[in-house]
Subunit: 358 residues, 4 copies
């Protein structure tokens, strides 16, 4: 409909006055705010282990822990998120590097974290006084507002993946931070205490109140491996998986993001699945290929890649592979807005990930 000049002038003046009054008309906004289906700014992306570990080693030589603040951490920057050091809108993904005989001092923060160990032995993370020994494939929790510090007593460097909900907490404007008072490190009450008390369906009875939010602080790869083997033996398809849960509630180990491990068996490709929520995949063992919205990712041990919300994702192992995965699905489920669907046909591959924006 053509609008007369004088009406158009009034409309223009209205738009100017709205802006001055800190208002915006809904009707001039495009579909970006409410697309027909999720249209993520987050990009499907990959970081290769070779690059990650080489840069971490260089940082290990050049940057001391005290120079670098509390931690020697390289955070992965999703190129779709405007330069913020976030791997997805709600998740932080990073490589942390601790030289032999180094320590990272104690602190606590609102953001909850997990550590998935990639390389090294002889290190522990102390969480509220419980010194948790770390080995490759282990998952260690440092839940929201729990004191934590790291100690490497071995001669060799330690490398692990850090997963945090820091971007979510940042967006919610809800974050607190506190350095550990008095000393750099917490006193150690014992080693692997939570592991001694919880698991296998039992819990201590006692006068003290249980920490229901995080009774079990470590999930060992030896257990994960055994569960995944059993699932493969029991006839799981090309992909089987387990999730890491709070044994006193059955809900996610960390309330804000899921922690899962998949085992991929070579021989066939999974059907494409899409889910609401962004996912981060860390290759712990093996190699293979994933297709994310038509983009092909060839991955090997130590690589990290991202599948954005509602992207179709399919996987195929070239050799048996274990993938550790975090996603913000628990938030979607808590808010009642999670959806997923399996597509009927495999995707056509339209490009291969090259590390450059397509």
């Amino acid at each position: 409909m053509a609008v007369g000049a004088s009406v158009q002038h009034e409309i223009d003046q209205l738009y100017l006055d709205l802006e001055t009054s800190d208002l915006q008309p809904l009707w001039t906004q495009g579909p970006a705010l409410q697309p027909f289906q999720p249209a993520p700014r987050t990009k499907a992306w990959m970081w290769e282990w070779e690059t990650l570990v080489a840069l971490a080693q260089r940082a290990g030589k050049l940057i001391t822990i005290d120079r670098g603040g509390d931690r020697r951490v390289l955070s992965m920057v999703n190129p779709g998120l405007g330069g913020l050091p976030f791997i997805t809108p709600t998740l932080w993904g990073a490589i942390q590097y601790l030289n032999g005989h180094e320590q990272a001092p104690g602190h606590r923060h609102t953001a909850g974290a997990v550590r998935f160990v990639l390389q090294g032995e002889g290190t522990w993370t102390t969480v509220n006084g419980d010194a948790i020994d770390m080995s490759p494939g282990d998952l260690i929790l440092t839940p929201s507002w729990h004191w934590h510090d790291h100690t490497n007593e071995s001669d060799d460097a330690m490398v692990w993946f850090d997963g945090l909900d820091l971007p979510l907490v940042y967006m919610l404007e809800a974050g607190f931070f506190e350095p550990y008072p008095v000393e750099e490190l917490q006193p150690v009450r014992g080693h692997n205490l939570s592991e001694k008390l919880y698991g296998n369906g039992t819990a201590p009875i006692g006068p003290e109140e249980r920490d229901v939010t995080a009774p079990l602080l470590v999930y060992r790869y030896t257990h994960s491996d055994r569960r995944l083997s059993a699932l493969v033996e029991m006839g799981g398809g090309p992909l089987v998986g387990i999730e890491f849960l709070n044994p006193l509630t059955g809900s996610n180990a960390i309330p804000t993001f899921s922690n899962e491990m998949y085992r991929l068996v070579p021989g066939s490709r999974t059907m494409p699945v899409r889910k609401v929520g962004n996912s981060v995949f860390l290759v712990f063992k093996g190699s293979g290929t994933s297709i994310v919205d038509g983009k092909r990712f060839d991955w090997r041990q130590g690589d990290v890649f991202v599948a954005p919300s509602w992207a179709a994702v399919e996987h195929e192992a070239s050799e048996q592979a274990d993938l550790f995965v975090i996603s913000d699905r628990p938030i979607m489920q808590a808010l009642g807005i999670f959806r997923s669907e399996t597509l009927d046909d495999h995707q056509e591959e339209v490009s291969t990930f090259s590390g450059h924006d397509s």
Copy 2:
């Protein structure tokens, strides 16, 4: 510690290589990411009714519903949020204006919404076939993914406040949207059905599955007023309040944001309280003053103001006042990161809100 020139060169080269590899060092980032306590970008801000209604009336004359997309909505823009039409990082606050004998067509979206009626009668919002009559002070829900349209059968314009979790859904990259198929409006099964079936602690028994997520779609001001009067009579202080809940679960009427109504009685000022999470206050009746982190807001009927996360907030009515309030506290509580505290002393007022950034 001074660093030699060649080491500095290596460090500089490391930083360049990190950037090329889509990585950022944690140690060079300031405290913005993890401040000692919440440091919101969201600003304490106010929109005055006089301005809101005048602009809405001009839009009512100039913009037809079909020209303006589905809705004639003026969304409030918090000046701290980079120009996005969001009143807080997770909440959408807007004025919606519907002329006499106008209709706004049906659609549904992932974002959940509430409508708080400010002016007019003779209008209903149809939610999944239930036509809910709207009167000033009533709260009407259009929960996530429920079909909804609006019909004004009166001769006069209708004005209400829209509260949505759209910014949250947008940030989570989780939003779907769908126009109502076939016709513009849904067929009406009846008027105020949910109100006839739920409330007063009873629920129908029957073969059909209950809609546990949103059994009751409207909360009448007549009830709210009676509850608030009873609380004042029972000796509540300068401020009493009620929350609007799902009567089948006792949790928030909308899972992502709280809906509350406060009654302020003149004569004394509330003690300053700060809470994690952003809050939006809509003055339904009366007038008074609020101090938010030292900034003074003098408000009257129809005004809308924002208190950012962890800001100290105190209120004093100059005449008895009813404030409708939404906040993202339920998200904080679901994630286990809510905190609040009451301060011992009243704040010093350092400025008065003028509508210009201080």
Copy 3:
């Protein structure tokens, strides 16, 4: 298989020795302990209003409250339960009678109770200081371990039905009892306070902790009637129903037994349904017929009848009827052992209830 005499002797001796040792062999016990389907000792039974009220009136003249302990209560004795004053294995059903200007003194006990008012006005039950006015058709809660007393300020007698979980608490050996200290009656904080604060999906916000176990202590017949009328208008069949719930949790108003009201519309018979758990029906209004496992019950206003666990039950109103119903279904559901099924054909009536054991 024939057993030789000497073996039989040894077996006999074994049985004697077992008895001496406080042991019983499982294999000699019949199917009573574990029948193929529930085989209740509880009998389908009815108490007629005419009888109930005449006996209550006689008690009202002959028995003073102080003579009769704390209460003038006639408890219904299901003839299948060995003489215990229980209407079903878990439920207590009784008529309570309070003369004009009488009071029943305060006490509290582990057993939870409801009062469903049959006759009279001008009486209140005070529950933890909240004086709840009672009118016919109202449901008043006196939950577990809440102080309660009754005051009749009118000139006329008051009659109500008492429903308690006392038999369950007795069987569990879990019961405590305490008379109200100091005075006979509690001080009254106000009338109908819970009703002023809860209902319609709202709850007070405040410094005091909410009584989540029983926020709302009364459910008015005016509301029940309106809900049932709406359900009938919306096309419910010969039977519609509502349940009385805790508005802060959506679970049963009393944790141990359900409280429901059915409205029966004349014209057709409901299909036979059987449920695990015993049910007690109190006719508040109207008249009709129910068939319980082939036994016919013709009921009128004020009658009380019992349907045992897993009995097929069908109803037909001869005039519009409202039935108040309590059952121990919540226990079955909490334990995961509830079942129900609707049968395809109406039952054959094999007998009519006569008040004498068949």
Copy 4:
């Protein structure tokens, strides 16, 4: 107050008429129905292993499984419960005996059961197709309405303790029973499947719906022993304990009764504790003494004893002892009527249990 003869006559007549009308006056009933504190009919009692095993062995020789119905079970009869084969009002306690190369055929029932293994190896219990190998100290679940049968492939007899909620289900008139159709034994899908999939805080992800009610069907003594040792090392007093929980919900492994294991360390006596609910103690290892409401029980390996509701209970080990304990506390907690208290002083011992009613 003296009552005149004619009034007394009317009262007598009232009582007669009440009885004829299946009614009882509340005011003539003593405090048995509502005592000031629990007054259990259940007696503190003990069954000695020597007696139990000798009688079970005699039954093993004299009674074939087919002669004895499905099971060779000796149920413990609490002398306070009127001759019913119940160890407490809600719990069944029994010894089950399976000769070498015997099988007990499949069936299922509403009552839920646990098996705590006392003696033997080479036997499994198949639960819904999962063949669970049994060793001393292991706890095996056969939850409500799960198919189960037992197979002893060894040359030696197997003895275990059966704990069931059968008395509760019987009282609730809620029990169903079904023999396994077609064959005596279920087909075995595999051995120890639930154990391979659950425990240590992980759960499989998959298309099949999880059995949330009973994901984990066996709790090994090797784990229990390790947890109890850790608790003793961490400075637990004379008594430490663990409970056996559903790892997907954190609630009791069986909804109707708790399953716990205590370790008692010699050297001091526990303070007397009383709890609402009846408890059954099974001595798995060691020896010691318990005082239950002043009655002394000296126990050794294999003995079973009962502590009634609200009885004061204290324990002292003469050598390190492990006690497996079941109680109906979960029911009390579900109904909101659980209480417990620790007394300040040790009880005076007034008698020693002799096996004869005192």
